[in-house]
Amino acid sequence: MTPDKVEKNILINAPAETVYRVITDPDQISQWFADAAELDPVPGGQGRLTFEDRATTQRMSVRLTVHAAEPPHRFAFRWDYPEGERPAEGNSLLVEFTLAAEGTGTRLRVTESGFAALRKPDEDKAVYYEAHDKGWDAHLASLQGYVAGQS
């Protein structure tokens, strides 16, 4: 297998319409993905994700372009391409969500592909991923605290 793609899926006890809103609404994206999000969730729509590293208060912002938006079945975007470039195969990662009814809920699948082409500036990427991870760990901790406080 060429290590170019990651695939994950989860069963969600909610209608596809609700799940679709969570993955496309900027106000909600800022709760599961980035610290701040701007996005026009239509094909060709532009967006920006901002990640904050809570330890250093450093900010990193990443652009994204919507590749496909077919509510409530499919949503795809390209991200992580250099400023000033158009997103295409070879300079960006493609994220694809598919939503399918399963039982009384929704099976949400996500694939992220394009790593093989993107791996070029290895050191930049390593720094980038690390920055993301830090942001995420901090975000996850706050989220877990929130969820624990609920129950």
Partner: protein
């Protein structure tokens, strides 16, 4: 031809990571490499006899591996023997390991994101019962 090289030309990195990556990313090619490694050295004829590939396919794989510097050829009479260049194989292993690490990290990030999406969607589904038919 490796596409999308960031710099025009990009020749100054002698057999660079691109070639290395291209060479080892293909599972069939890794089989050829594994077999040469197991035998110490091998001719295209013996490789083709032991692997489910045609002689032409073996020759192609060997050419890619040689271009990446992973194998070297030595002629003895009418036979050409291929052997693995250990130091280059080490580099390839590192490239693969780094890629595997990046992929594993990406997969873990998506797992966390999916769980966060699940929590958000289920919260909303349960606080707005109008969305759920029946029950």
């Amino acid at each position: 031809m490796s596409q999308g090289s960031p710099e025009a030309g990009g020749r100054d990195l002698p057999p660079g990571e691109d070639e290395l990556w291209e060479a080892v990313a293909d599972p069939s090619r890794r089989k050829v490499l594994d077999l040469i490694l197991a035998r110490g050295q091998a001719t295209p004829t013996t490789l083709a006899a032991e692997l489910p590939f045609t002689r032409q396919a073996v020759a192609k794989h060997l050419a890619v591996l040689a271009r990446a510097g992973l194998v070297e050829a030595r002629r003895e009479g009418r036979e050409v023997y291929y052997s693995v260049r250990a130091e280059r194989l080490d580099e390839a292993a590192q490239v693969m390991a780094r890629a595997a690490q990046a992929m594993a990290a990406a997969a873990a990030r998506w797992d966390r994101r999916l769980h966060a999406i699940k929590r958000l969607a289920e919260e909303q589904a349960h606080t707005s019962p109008a969305q759920l038919p029946g029950e």
